[in-house]
Subunit: 239 residues, 2 copies
């Protein structure tokens, strides 16, 4: 099940047999954890990173008022906190949105990668830069897109990312987020999320029921979102 991760890398560049062996040696242990747990709190020292194998996690930031902002979603194949390797602590919490299975990757092993595998280092560096590109797209959404466009954009993004992970098929995928959590991603209240989803349904762009989303009209949804997957860097390039 580390295949989703390898696939994510191989979408962007070739991974040699040597490198694949090194990658498979990164995980020190596999861990299962329940839903709605805080795995890592902001500010605490971290000594390993989290390679998500199954389930959804999120990076969350809070305000004192109790308002929360989900700043990124992690799906299988993603490192949720590869940036912790160089940052040494995080500026946000890592929480599980569903039951999850993940591989714990000690930072010493990543450090070894940087000492012995320069190309793989660049590829992992790219992965954190890809996270940043997603952050920038979310910033654009929150700053300039309407509620319905934001929602449509998120659904498009996840369709691509879950496709790479091998868990989206035919424009349809399991969608575990509650409307409260969707609001925390999109900077909206749960009430407005509800109304926005209804509008997307009424326009016959998506179906969403039983925690599963189906994109009914992909061109239409992409148009509402102004979605362009260029920011996901889906082309293979030597790095």
């Amino acid at each position: 099940m580390i295949d989703a991760h390898l696939n994510k890398l191989r979408v962007r560049d070739d991974v040699s047999a040597d490198e694949e062996r090194a990658i498979r040696g990164l995980v020190a242990e596999e861990v299962s954890v329940a839903s709605d747990r805080t795995l890592i709190r902001h500010g605490q020292d971290v000594h390993s990173s989290t390679l998500l194998l199954e389930g959804w996690m999120a990076r969350v930031k809070d305000l004192r008022s109790g308002q929360r902002q989900i700043v990124e979603l992690s799906v299988p194949g993603d490192f949720t906190d590869l940036h912790g390797f160089t940052l040494k602590r995080l500026d946000h919490d890592i929480v599980t949105l569903t039951p999850c299975r993940y591989g714990r990757v000690p930072h010493e092993r990543l450090k070894e990668i940087t000492e012995r595998f320069p190309h793989l280092t660049r590829l992992y560096w790219l992965m954190t830069n890809l996270d940043a590109a997603i952050h920038r797209e979310w910033t654009l959404s929150l700053g300039r897109r309407s509620a319905i466009a934001r929602m449509a954009h998120l659904i498009c993004e996840l369709n691509v990312r879950l496709g790479i992970a091998g868990v989206a098929r035919d424009n349809s995928y399991d969608f575990p987020l509650t409307q409260v959590e969707l609001g925390e991603c999109l900077g909206l209240t749960a009430v407005h999320v509800n109304r926005t989803l209804q509008e997307l349904r009424r326009k016959r762009l998506i179906e969403l029921q039983n925690r599963r989303v189906t994109i009914v009209d992909r061109p239409g949804l992409k148009a509402v979102a102004e979605f362009d997957d260029a920011y996901l860097y889906l082309h293979k390039r030597p790095r």
Copy 2:
């Protein structure tokens, strides 16, 4: 004037004499450019990165409607597009907000760093992860903070970053952004930026005139912003 850059690195980790020499060898040429120019367009292939020595630049994303979102500001000492080294093209434009001077750093030289200087590689990796941390804080601002809190937060952030660059002093610094550009950073219209600034002035938190900002009441401004500089990773740690 590459000192601002070295200082920015040294705030986070030690830089050896060897590494400093390598860094000073990165810049292939120094270039001056006027204000309001687009240096790099999204999607185009990039083969060098931009080390800002003087002036302000921004990373900008557009919507078809013509609405713009500034997703990050660059100040002296920052690489505006170090992430271009692994991404190979950008998902945003790079524009100048003032007249600028910058060093052009060919990607082959950065590649050499990754082959020969693993520690320095980790430090530059950290710099892009720091960018991402700033993105996350902006995401929180746009998603959850009010207009006045967003504005206050940005002013606090720039005070810290410009302090590291050596161009902010005594809670005061040159502030070249127009109110339109401020709106593009904060997801607001220029009209509302104007009213928000007036409220900050009326509360005696800042002064802003002749393109220079002075923080009159730093604790008060930080309180309005809920500003905590932890996300800027100001402590030196071995990486």
